[in-house]
Every structure is written in structure tokens, then in C-alpha cells.
Subunit: 312 residues, 2 copies
């Protein structure tokens, strides 16, 4: 893989963070850029919270909670318990260590720094050498159309625990948003784009919705790793969303989701029967173990994906 | 003291909180109102912080750190250490439990609640039955004129650790500020006003500076407890301030500070020699132990002060 000089990974939550971490173990920091969804960012307790960005950064820095995949390891809940005792909103749990990230980021945003500037500095302080970019410095909140009305993403995801039936999504302001500095340049320069096994609807689509991103992806060598294994997701509501939108949840459905610009697709052995159908979309496939239960599995999947992409 | 129906205490920081706590042990909750300085309130990490209000409430609720007199007991510093690691301002230490107060208060202020409404609700949740009122719901930040320039109070007090030489004070906006609801009514109805052993310059004067307060105090039976013992303060810069302003720091100086409207003055045995001079100002005096090293001492001093006031 010595010929890969610019690899860009598109990532959302826990699955994306794990894949990004695997790639970071296989590539020099200067080669890898991770572009992260900000559609699920929101304000809570007066603070700006960027769940996907934090999950990716905590994971890359080795600070993530290994049990949950999100949040910080060795977390405590001292502030949260007191805020609750004072009558504050408690539907979104915020750990003490995690809270510090939100506090300092919010302060800097108010002081005029951009999200990408803040992310770069936090990464430096956390010892992350590769480049992590929010897809945009603008606010592009994801809204979920459901059978109980339109909900801000975190209200659907956390407060309602993904119970409402999904009818569609809206990425508010995405068409007017500007990609963060160097996003388009890095996509255009990429000799490989890896779509991590993140939720296509609410992790990857909000990235693609930002003005200029789809255009920059056209013609790039791009591979995706399926977040759906055996019709289910390891974590999160992607499979439920496909079903509610009238699409059989499957690796094939994910491949179709991206097929307009994708070249390669990585699916699990459990879905080997779908290989032919995926290839009939014009995609080259790699069938392997796509579960990432530990660090070794992340590295192996990343390594196999890079080797696969090199053969495209 | 059965005849006391409405006692109002004016309080600032640690000394004021201790005295208020002593009074709370001697009087039914419905009788006692504690009016608290807000001149040292400030914004930090994007949060509204009310140090005197919190010190008074934590003390009354039995939540205060017994070692420092301010902050919370059994405090931890998880968030603070992480914010510092991310490059955030670390000159003002904020504990995890204390931070929850600032977070929830700031959220409610942004949502439109007033400081006095929030304080009433926090007191209810903390089990404080007596009434605690910020002197005003408006912003009246204290500025300190010093030999290195004019400083916001907390920058003088915490960041500069009271090192600069004080030239004077400004209570920004105090003349245009409105007393919080019921402040004036409670002062007018008071059959006793107790000026707690707080810093006259930066704890009590900012209360007196709010429009209508001095007028409401005229003619009220008022006693003050000296925060200066043997020319020194137990805590804080009051004695240093007197000296830098060209006034010998002493119990007498404090009595003079308030003599225009005060009737009684409580001073320490250590300052018994000043009794005659204080009485020559037209004040009745009580000489006793004014140190409050523990809860029993708070209660005793409060009890003696109330008995003294009853004889006025």
C-alpha cells in the first residue's frame, strides 16, 4: 500500500470510529484524513455537543470507553447527578470528562474559533497525529421525519430511543453550508476514499449533502464497508431505518445506497450470498469478517480493505 | 427573641455565610431573610458564577467545604483537570459539584428565569427553608481600581490574588439596578437588620449601592458584626483594602463605615479597647468572641447578637 498517499475516510459514530482507528494503525498519519459527520451535533445545557466528532477523536486517542464505544473511559457522573438534582434535563447523559470537551469547545466557538480549528487543536492535545476534519464548520442539524412528527436527531436518537417510525430525513442548511477548509482539496486529492461502516442515512448522507462533496467524490476510487451484517446493525438504528423506509435492510441495500459513485464494497461472510447482486451494481466486492470486537479486528479489517482497494 | 418577626441579614462571602448559618440556627425559617451580594458575580467558561450566593447557600444547606468555607464538601476536579488539558482558563478553580450549579443556573438564566427565581428553586431543592435573596437580578459587576489598572473583581481577587494596591471600587450599573422582588419590602418590614462580618468594601457596599437600599435601611434597627479582629481579617482582603485606602484597619474603621445608619456594633474581645471610640459614634456595642471556627461558635455569636439587638 506504499502507493497510497492520500486516504480519506468518511465516518460517523462508533462503527466509523472503529474503522478510522483501524486505518490509523495501517497508514502513516500524514496519509490519513478522517472526515466526520456533524449532523447529529446539538446544543444541550447551553453547550455545543458533537457526538460523532468526539467518538472518532476519543477512539483515535485511545480515550474512548471500551464498553460502549462512545464516551470516555474511566468516566464519572458527578456533574450530571448534581444537575439532575437541580432539575436540569437528564435525558442526555454527560460524563465529567466528556463535559470538559463540550465546555472548552463551546467557549472557543463563542470566542470565534471554528469547529475545525478547535478540533485540530484538541487532536494535537490528545496526541492524534492524523487529520480529523468536521465536514463543515456550519450548523447542519439533522431532523428526522417520524410518525410522531419531525424531531431533532438527538431527540429521536436518545430521548425517544429510536422508537418512532422513520419517514425521512432533512439536513437543515446542508445545501447552503460550506465544507470545512481543505475538505474538498483532500477529497479531490484522495487516491482512496473509505466509507466507514457508519449509518448511511444519518452519518454518511449528511456528509454527502454538504455542497460540493458529491461532486468532489465523483471519479475518486471509493470503497464502503457495510454497517449491516446479516440484515442487522452491530449498533444503532440503520437496519430499522431501512425497514421503516420500505427497503429490506441488507448489505446489498447499503451498496445500492452508494452505488452511484462507489467502486468497491466490503461485506461480511454472513452476507456472501449477496455478493453477486452487489457486483451486478458494477461494484467489486471483498467478503471478509467485518465485525470489529477488538483493536486487532479493526486493524485486520482496515488492512484487508486497503489491500482490496489497491487491487481495484 | 420571640418578638423578632422579620430579621434581614446582609451577607457576602465566607464570614457572611457563617453568620447567616448561625442566625438560621436561632430563628424560625419564616423570620430570617438573607440578602446576598452579587457584585462579585462573573462569567467564566461561558457560565454565570455567583460566588457569594453559592457560598451562602452551600453553607446554609450544609453542603459547604468545611476546610475552605467556600465550594462544596467532597468536591472533585475531574472536569477542571480536563478543561485545563484542553487549554482552557485555569485561574479560577471550579469543582465538579460546584460546576453543576453554574451550568444549571446559566441554562435557566438563558431560558429567561431571574437569578432570584433560580435561587429560590435551588434553595428548595437543597432543603433551605429560609429566604435567600440576591440583592438584585441585574448585573452589577464590581470593578477594583488598582495600581495596575481597573480590574474586574474576580481578576483582582483570584487571578491577581489581591496583590495589586487598591485605589477604589466601582459597582457598575448599581445606580440603575433594581432590587430583586421583595428586597425593599423585607428591609422596610425588618425589626432587625444584621450586617454580617463580611468585607465592607466589596461585600456590603455593593448591596448598599443598589437603588433604594440605603433609603430602606434608614431608621431600621441595624447591628453589624466586625469582620476585622485585632486589625486583621479572618479571611479575605478587607484589612489590606482599608490600609491601602489610607484607613487604619480596625473594628472602629468598620463601625465608622456603617455609622450613618447603624445602631449596634459587635466587636471582638481583642478590640475591647476600641469600645469607647465606637460608642462615641453613637453606637451601642457588644464585645464578645466573634471568631466562628465551628458551628457551635456560629450559633453562639448569632444568639448573642440577637439578644444584644433585642436590648437596643
Amino acid at each position: 500500500m506504499a502507493h497510497l498517499e492520500h486516504v480519506v475516510a468518511l465516518a460517523g459514530g462508533v462503527g466509523g470510529a472503529k474503522m478510522a482507528h483501524g486505518l490509523a494503525q495501517c497508514l502513516p498519519p500524514a496519509v490519513l484524513t478522517v472526515i466526520v459527520n456533524v449532523g447529529d451535533d446539538f446544543e444541550h445545557w447551553g453547550l455545543k455537543i458533537c457526538p460523532d466528532l468526539d467518538t472518532v477523536c476519543y477512539t483515535l486517542a485511545g480515550l474512548a470507553n471500551p464498553a460502549t464505544g462512545w464516551g470516555r473511559a474511566e468516566e464519572s457522573w458527578r456533574v450530571f447527578e448534581q444537575v439532575r438534582a437541580l432539575g436540569g434535563a437528564d435525558w442526555f447523559r454527560m460524563g465529567d470528562l466528556d463535559l470538559a470537551t463540550h465546555l472548552e469547545r463551546s467557549r472557543r466557538l463563542r470566542a470565534g474559533e471554528t469547529l475545525s480549528q478547535i478540533t485540530a487543536d484538541f487532536c494535537r492535545r490528545w496526541g492524534i497525529e492524523l487529520t480529523v476534519l468536521p465536514i463543515t464548520d456550519d450548523n447542519v442539524p439533522t431532523w428526522v421525519y417520524t410518525d410522531i412528527g419531525e424531531l431533532p436527531f438527538q431527540e429521536y436518537f436518545v430521548k425517544q430511543q429510536c422508537q418512532p417510525r422513520v419517514l425521512g430525513f432533512r439536513f437543515d442548511g446542508a445545501d447552503r453550508a460550506t465544507p470545512a477548509p481543505s475538505v474538498i482539496e483532500r477529497l479531490r486529492a484522495a487516491d482512496l476514499v473509505v466509507v466507514c461502516p457508519s449509518n448511511p442515512w444519518v452519518s454518511i448522507d449528511p456528509i454527502l449533502a454538504i455542497g460540493g462533496v458529491r461532486e468532489a467524490l465523483q471519479g475518486r476510487p471509493a470503497v464502503a464497508v457495510s454497517p449491516i451484517i446479516g440484515g442487522k446493525t452491530v449498533k444503532g438504528p440503520a437496519a430499522k431505518m431501512y425497514a421503516e423506509l420500505g427497503i429490506q435492510p441488507s448489505a446489498l441495500a447499503v451498496a445500492q445506497h452508494y452505488s452511484a459513485w462507489l467502486r468497491g464494497f466490503v461485506l461480511d461472510h454472513a452476507d456472501a450470498a449477496q455478493t453477486e447482486a452487489v457486483e451486478s451494481l458494477g461494484l467489486v466486492t471483498l467478503t471478509t469478517d467485518t465485525l470489529m470486537p477488538d483493536g486487532a479486528a479493526r486493524r485486520r479489517l482496515a488492512s484487508e480493505t486497503l489491500a482490496f482497494a489497491a487491487r481495484l
